[in-house]
Symmetry: C2
Subunit: 166 residues, 2 copies
DNA sequence: ATCAATGCAAAGGTTTTGCAAAAAT
DNA sequence: ATTTTTGCAAAACCTTTGCATTGAT
């Protein structure tokens, strides 16, 4: 997101352009694809502006979510997380890309990806229930490649140990 | 979920069968398809067992989640919610049904449904990343039928008012 | 000059934890 | 008899809020 575009967005909503708001935007831009907590962003921000307060971070994140500059995500680990929301190239409608995440249940790694395979489901909801889907969020839980390999090795080791004992 | 099956599950994990655990299971069974908070369950439980403590509710819910008897869901409204997780009839593998929710952004109504339209996506993740999906969670945000009708009426009213003024 | 935004500290609300007493195996 | 679980209260935790001060327009 361009700084000038952001300033414009703020002005449209009668919000002021402050040092702190620009800093948080900059930090989010410096960490694309990451899923930062408010605390993470606070720590990053303090390096550039030691006076900044945690409450300001929270308030700024709220503003950024309302302006649809960032997305709020929840991996149920006790923290709300934020990531820069990419707009689609779609010029006519300001449709937002959907945030899909695959979360490894063993190491916690998060893979982000985009794919619109829910169109059928959304169409059927509209037809059956009259429910119009505007946005969606998909979380896939499972095991990443390296954890699967580690688990396989542990399993082999376990079997060997058992064989020794048997 | 049958009581005896639950008792068996507890015993397998060396957990004790207590009055409180059986009560919470019973309450979840009495409210299928609902999305109860810990506080909701506490209030229901106190009607049948006024001595029960909130901490016990939280601890019991953790146990039920670990035993995969209930699912933990988060609608980002500040509460973690719980619902009875239905097992599929799939006898061979103890695969769980996936919990999909359509949440109305205007009135907060939640529609639950099942549909496995993510198979393609999951297959592609395995092929491309080596990520094995075990469970998934889908949240659709939008507007339900009655809210869409209300919004349409409000829109019409607004237009009429504008016409009068013009 | 006006009104919004900040920083600090305190409060808020949900969830977890420590510990002695009670209950389950 | 042993070990887990409970209930209570206190603590922990992330997040929000009140308010005087600072900063943006």
């Amino acid at each position: 997101m361009d700084q000038s575009v952001f300033k414009q967005l703020l002005k449209e909503k009668n919000l002021k352009v402050t040092r702190q708001r620009m800093l948080v935007l900059e930090l989010m831009g410096d960490h694309p694809g990451e899923h930062l907590t408010a605390e993470d962003i606070y720590e990053l921000a303090r390096k550039k502006d030691p006076e900044i307060g945690l409450a300001t971070i929270y308030r700024t994140l709220q503003v950024l979510v309302e302006l649809q500059v960032i997305d709020k995500i929840n991996f149920d680990d006790g923290f709300v997380r934020y990531e820069l929301g990419q707009m689609t190239g779609d010029d006519s409608e300001e449709r937002r890309h959907h945030h899909h995440h695959a979360i490894c249940s063993r190491c916690g790694a998060v893979y982000s990806f985009e794919e619109d395979l829910l169109d059928n489901l959304e169409r059927s909801l509209l037809e059956r229930l009259g429910f119009l889907v505007v946005d969606h969020e998909v979380k896939l839980f499972g095991y990443c490649k390296s954890c699967r390999e580690k688990m396989k090795n542990e399993d082999l080791k376990l079997r060997r140990d058992l064989e020794v004992k048997v």
